[in-house]
């Protein structure tokens, strides 16, 4: 559905997109994950023919996108990072206005508007103006304005920034429902949990480059860490710490303030081995739990820094 090849975008000396390559297939929820300033929004803006770019090729629905490619635009719904609505219009008026940029038929548009209001759960706020809505409801309105015309491709640029957990869940569930109904989704975020939760395929961006892409399982398989074991309320001496480090598949330990983090490679039974050691040495502890690697671990291992840095 979308192909981006060797896309380069410079702002003066700053290279915002550095030979970016992406391919997005029909029907997937594609996540663009990366820290702030990594080039996610720039990539989206180039894709939508809003921004000039220095080099590269972009095709949407098999065609090159231009600012006046209205037949392509009709198939796209955009939910920008900033809330883009008219402050003087009510919820229903805003949705109807933006839907009207795509659908001319009044009856059809009315149906679409009602469905969009229902979809984002703003029925009881339909006559309110944007300044009367909370941050979460405002974001829902922003989404409704972008999806009311039932696009085949929905691009959501960080739609959950500054949103309360309830609205966030509502938004994420809504995105999954849109996908289920047949829309292809591009979802940009720097919240890895969200991307992990909803995206079927993910590209991790850093400094304008696609540093890794694939399903979350594929991404996690790219790194050494297979399991992270955390033990809280534990007192260890140097010798014991060294012995834990030497356990099979353990490649890294971090011990601070009576908290031990043990990173193990992908083999199974890591937790059992650690527990067995603690029992054998009669070392008491408060709490123990095991986690699978996150996308942050992927990012950390590939770039050497935290995703939120």
């Amino acid at each position: 559905m979308i192909q981006i090849k060797n896309l380069v975008k410079r702002y003066g000396d700053l290279v915002a997109l550095d030979h970016l390559n992406l391919e997005i297939l029909e029907g997937e929820v594609f996540g663009l994950l990366g820290p702030n300033g990594c080039g996610k929004t720039t990539a989206i803006s180039c894709l939508l023919a809003l921004l000039k770019y220095d080099k590269g090729e972009i095709t949407l629905f098999g065609r090159e996108m231009h600012p006046d490619s209205y037949d392509i635009k009709r198939k796209i719904g955009i939910v920008p990072q900033e809330v883009a609505v008219f402050q003087e219009l009510s919820v229903v008026e805003n949705i109807d206005y933006f839907c009207g940029l795509y659908i001319k038929d009044k009856v059809k548009r009315r149906e679409c508007v009602e469905e969009a209001i229902d979809f984002v759960g703003l029925e009881s706020h339909r006559k309110m103006r944007p300044n009367q809505l909370s941050g979460g409801l405002l974001r829902r309105l922003n989404i409704a304005c972008g999806i009311a015309h039932k696009p085949k491709l929905v691009i959501l640029d960080e739609p959950t920034v500054a949103v309360d957990p309830q609205s966030r869940n509502h938004i994420l569930e809504g995105i999954q429902k849109l996908n289920k109904d047949g829309a292809t989704i591009i979802y940009t975020s720097h919240y890895m949990e969200e991307v992990e939760q909803i995206c079927t395929r993910i590209a991790i961006l850093d400094h304008g480059r696609n540093i890794a892409s694939g399903t979350k399982e594929e991404l996690k398989r790219m790194i050494k860490m297979g399991e992270r074991i955390t033990i809280e309320g534990i007192a260890l001496d140097k010798e014991q710490l060294q012995e834990i480090k030497e356990l099979p598949h353990v490649f890294q330990t971090d011990y601070k303030n009576q908290k031990l983090v043990v990173c193990c490679s992908g083999a199974k039974q890591n937790l059992m081995r650690v527990l067995h050691y603690l029992q054998e040495k009669e070392i008491s502890f408060g709490k123990i739990f095991s986690e699978m690697p996150t996308l942050n671990d992927v990012f950390l291992e590939i770039t050497g820094k935290e995703l939120r840095d």
Binding site: Y11, T41, S45, L48, A49, L50, L51, K52, H66, P67, D68, Y70, D71, K73, R74, I76, I78, P80, E82, V83, A84, V85, F86, E88, L89, E93, D96, Y97, F98, G100, L101, Y102, K106, R109, C145, G146
Partner: protein
């Protein structure tokens, strides 16, 4: 397109700042103009004055004759009535007359206030006393010139008959009304700010709403045209309200050419809005830069049209007339000017047509500036 216009209309109508500047501010300014200028004319129409004769001498009678001449020649300005001192003072106390002239060898004026009317009465007395002094000096030093002087002074008293404001173009003019025409022209030019704002609203690098509108499947020309028509209508309705207020509430006499005034106002709206939209679309700068450009252009055009400093327009007409032909402010003010000055409508027609043509050119320019645009940064 109607759906787009409907919501843009609601959006503009609910924007209190916009409505204040485009509708209420001209009304407030008009009221201030009326209070400042309008009342001067109205109150000067007739100053009721009492005349109390204290002395029947020839010298005293001269002043009475002087007052009679003034009343006769400028009947709308002063109305005198001879009465007793007691009655005159009573009327003055009640505010029914503005002053009392005492006919005496040394004429006197008694007033109860310090307003414009009292100043006018004072100026009559001073004028008489000045003339009397000249007569006395001439009769003392060059008595042979006295008949000639008397003839001249008599002419001065009659001056009001011959001094009547008129134009070379053959129409009578009222200087005060020109201020109200300038106000209408200014309201037309307010359309420039409305057009500018509308132009900003379709640019992705300025407003998020602009980005969303750019990404819609509706052509830029349609969006620009719908905004243009809507804002012109709003601005024109504002002017009609202003005209209604001037003629209906303030009872200002704008002349017999109300149709022509409405036509200039309408075309003025077109060019004002189109100019604002064009300025808003030039370049890909951020909002602050564009506002600075708009202010420079709008203030510059007002300056060059002579709305700030008189005579500039004439100088431009002499050395670079093309500026007067493309400057919206100059065209609007010139259309009003030629409408009130010339019987011949050719200059008025030329101004109106120029404005219409430039409005179309500005609008097309705006479209070409924003169509198919890709930004360097957002």
């Amino acid at each position: 397109m109607i759906q787009l216009m409907k919501y843009r209309f609601l959006s503009l109508l609910r924007d209190r700042t916009t409505m204040f500047w485009s509708l209420l501010f001209p009304l407030i300014l008009c009221t201030l103009f009326y209070v400042t200028f309008g009342n001067i004319d109205t109150n000067l129409e007739c100053i009721d004055t009492a005349v109390v004769v204290r002395d029947e001498s020839r010298q005293a009678k001269t002043f009475q004759t002087f007052l009679g001449d003034i009343e006769e020649e400028a009947e709308d300005l002063i109305k005198t009535e001879e009465m007793t001192d007691k009655k005159a003072k009573s009327l003055l106390k009640d505010g029914k007359i503005c002053g009392i002239f005492y006919i005496d060898k040394e004429p006197e004026l008694l007033v109860a206030g310090t307003g414009v009317e009292e100043s006018v009465l004072q100026s009559f007395l001073e004028s008489y006393q000045g003339g009397l002094e000249i007569v006395q000096n001439v009769s003392r030093e060059k008595p042979e010139n006295l008949p000639e002087l008397m003839k001249h002074l008599s002419g001065s008293a009659m001056q009001a008959e011959y001094v009547k404001e008129a134009s070379l173009g053959g129409k009578e003019t009222d200087g005060m009304i020109q201020y109200f025409f300038s106000l209408i022209a200014m309201t037309c030019m307010f359309g420039c700010f409305l057009g500018f704002e509308a132009s900003m609203m379709i640019q992705a690098n300025i407003y998020p709403v602009g980005a969303r509108r750019c990404l819609g499947a509706t052509g830029k020309m349609k969006i620009i045209l719908s905004d243009f028509i809507l804002i012109c209508v709003i601005n024109f309705v504002d002017i009609l309200v202003l005209l209604g207020y001037m003629t209906g509430v303030l009872k200002l006499d704008l002349g017999d050419d109300i149709g022509k005034i409405i036509l200039v106002s309408f075309v003025g709206c077109l060019i004002g809005v189109a100019m604002g939209m064009l300025v808003g679309s030039v370049g890909k700068w951020k909002e602050g830069t564009k506002i600075a450009i708009l202010l420079a252009v709008s203030l510059g055009s007002s300056f060059l049209s002579g709305l700030m400093v008189g005579g500039i327009k004439g100088l431009i007409e002499e050395y670079c007339p093309i500026i007067n032909r493309i400057n919206p402010s100059a065209l609007i003010s010139d259309a009003f000017y030629s409408m009130t000055i010339y019987e011949d409508a050719s200059r008025y027609t030329r101004d109106v047509l120029s404005m219409a043509v430039w409005a179309v050119i500005f609008l097309i320019g705006n479209f070409f500036m924003v169509r198919r645009v890709r930004y360097d940064s957002i």
